[in-house]
């Protein structure tokens, strides 16, 4: 079973994720004679408190994306009233800890929510949409975590 491990840091379990345009968008860009933006390495927190994965707005801008969906969401600051947020289609790839290893997780088309995470010192959240197919061990005493997909 593909797996990886990492450190539990001040921000939580951190994971490097490759965020790119979705497969269908990549095909549309090619058909339009436009270059496909290079995927971006994003430092994201594995967050079991997030229903969905979310990516910092600056990365979505870097990829030249536009919204392809909308969703209602609650956060601590929405105070019980759902807030409408845009969703963007991306590809999301997570590699194992060993350099040159195959991806442990790869989605060619995943809807993510935009957010402002840079001020929090991270680039986004890996939410339960991705974790739905994963098993995770949280090694608090050792500041370690492991995930298998």
């Amino acid at each position: 079973m593909p797996h990886l491990s990492g450190q539990v840091t001040l921000w939580g379990p951190l994971i490097n994720v490759l965020v790119g345009v979705s497969g269908p968008r990549g095909a549309a860009l090619t058909a339009a004679g436009q270059p496909i933006p290079a995927p971006v390495v994003a430092r994201m927190v594995v967050d079991t408190g997030a229903s969905l994965s979310a990516v910092d707005c600056t990365i979505l801008q870097q990829l030249g994306l536009q919204p392809t969906g909308q969703i209602a969401l609650h956060t601590p600051s929405t105070q019980g009233v759902p807030h409408s947020a845009n969703q963007f289609d991306v590809s999301l790839t997570i590699y194992g800890a060993v350099p040159g290893s195959l991806p442990v997780y790869a989605a060619q088309a995943l809807p993510v929510v935009d957010g402002s995470f840079k001020p929090q010192g991270i680039d986004g959240l890996v939410g339960r949409d991705v974790l739905a197919g994963a098993r995770m061990i949280y090694g608090g005493p050792d500041s370690w975590y492991g995930i298998s997909f």
Partner: protein
Amino acid sequence: MGAEARMPDPSEQEANLKKYQELLPSLSGSEGKYALIYKAELIGTFDSYADALAAGYKAAGLNPFLVQRIAAAEFVAYFTRDIGSAVCHT
């Protein structure tokens, strides 16, 4: 078919969303599928997000379209962490 990109117009996506909300009662038989709306018209419903997205880019090229999961009761996502309220102008 629109392969050429142009500057996104937010009102187009608003019109797509409005159309989806208008159509929602008639889509109750397709709950769990994904609706594709382009130019404020229903293009079709699809079993998976990836299929709807692929059809969207095929129909609209790089122009705005909307993919929504069909649900009688609106799906609400929860985040225990603040995700920032800035609107992402891409």
